[in-house]
């Protein structure tokens, strides 16, 4: 399966975890996408919208504060101050 594990963790303890096919992050230098087997990366995020979709087509969107994203071994860990799911 071409999937990656996405973990959103907030400094207030809130956490959201999902296996997804692709993630789009609001990077400091612009929006960037992460797929399976992405090179290890540390990326500063700006306030904006994070979106992701599973291989079955299900998608999620979050309004996030600025933070950091860590990509390694098909795992994307996003450290934030707060986030809010967009329905």
């Amino acid at each position: 399966m071409d999937s990656i594990c996405l973990i959103l963790a907030c400094s207030d303890g809130e956490r959201w975890e999902q296996t997804v096919g692709a993630v789009t992050l609001p990077g400091e230098l612009g929006s960037l996408g992460v797929l399976k087997n992405h090179a290890p990366m540390l990326c500063a995020l700006q306030e904006g919208t994070l979106s992701c979709r599973s291989e079955t087509g299900e998608s999620w969107r979050f309004r996030i504060s600025d933070g950091i994203a860590r990509v390694a071994d098909n795992e994307v860990t996003v450290l934030l101050r707060h986030m809010e799911a967009i329905k």
């Binding site: 907030c10 400094s11 207030d12 303890g13 990077g27 400091e28 090179a39 860590r70 101050r81 707060h82």
Partner: protein, 287 residues
Amino acid sequence: MANMRAIRNRIKSIETTRQIARSMRMVAASKLRRTQENWQKLAYFTAVSRDTLQKLCASADIQRQPLLARREGKRLCLVLIVGSRGLCGAYNSALVKQAQARIAAGEEEVSLVVCGRWGREQIAALGVPVRRVFDTLSDTPDAAEAEAVARYLEGLFLDGETDRVELLYEAYISALSQQPRFLPLLPMNAAGEARGESPRETIYEPDKDTLLARLSELVLLNSVHTALLEAKASEHTARMTAMSAASDNTDELIAKLSVQLNHARQAAITTEIAEIVGGSHVLNQTD
């Protein structure tokens, strides 16, 4: 009779105190559960952010980072996290003793920031300037409350008002043991064992300095929030223990007073019988 009434009143008053102690114990237990849940929720963020910071610091120049660079000065801002009130045994006084010992050592120019409502007079008696008191912290401090404290401390440090910031709070060792702990906060200590080095081909976007600045702010916020919650967990535990002891003491007191009451009642009955017998003798003799 007057003596018996006094003892009965005393027992009633102690029973009320016991009821209050039991209620406070139950309230503290409930608050402890909630605080511990929130504290445990932070563990993942703490582990990942610390690990990432350590890996980044291993390959970056931390002297360029305002929150990480070491300073030579001797000014220490001690953040004293006391309880919101008393009735928790030696919880607060142990912290003040630790602060007093640190100040008495005289190696640093100490100023205080206080988190908690307890003991304005005791803290003022330490004889060092109190920069600010955060006296509206809730029983389970949330991220917004922690952020207010963290931002203030960050401002003090970045404005050059102090050279170091340390937290002093009761660390939660177990349900039976809490110990005062000095935790260096700023400059941030990024030394430690990172779980494996960052791979060489790691992409840093936009650059290491920006990432370090962003991450150190998140770690600072998380450290303050964790310490506030841990201190509160210790406070609630200390209050539970104190109220449990108070409740046990009232049980003992009530038992002792009940014996006294029985003695007094027995003495009263004996006196009455003696009076009746005496009276009957007198009546028989007059007949």
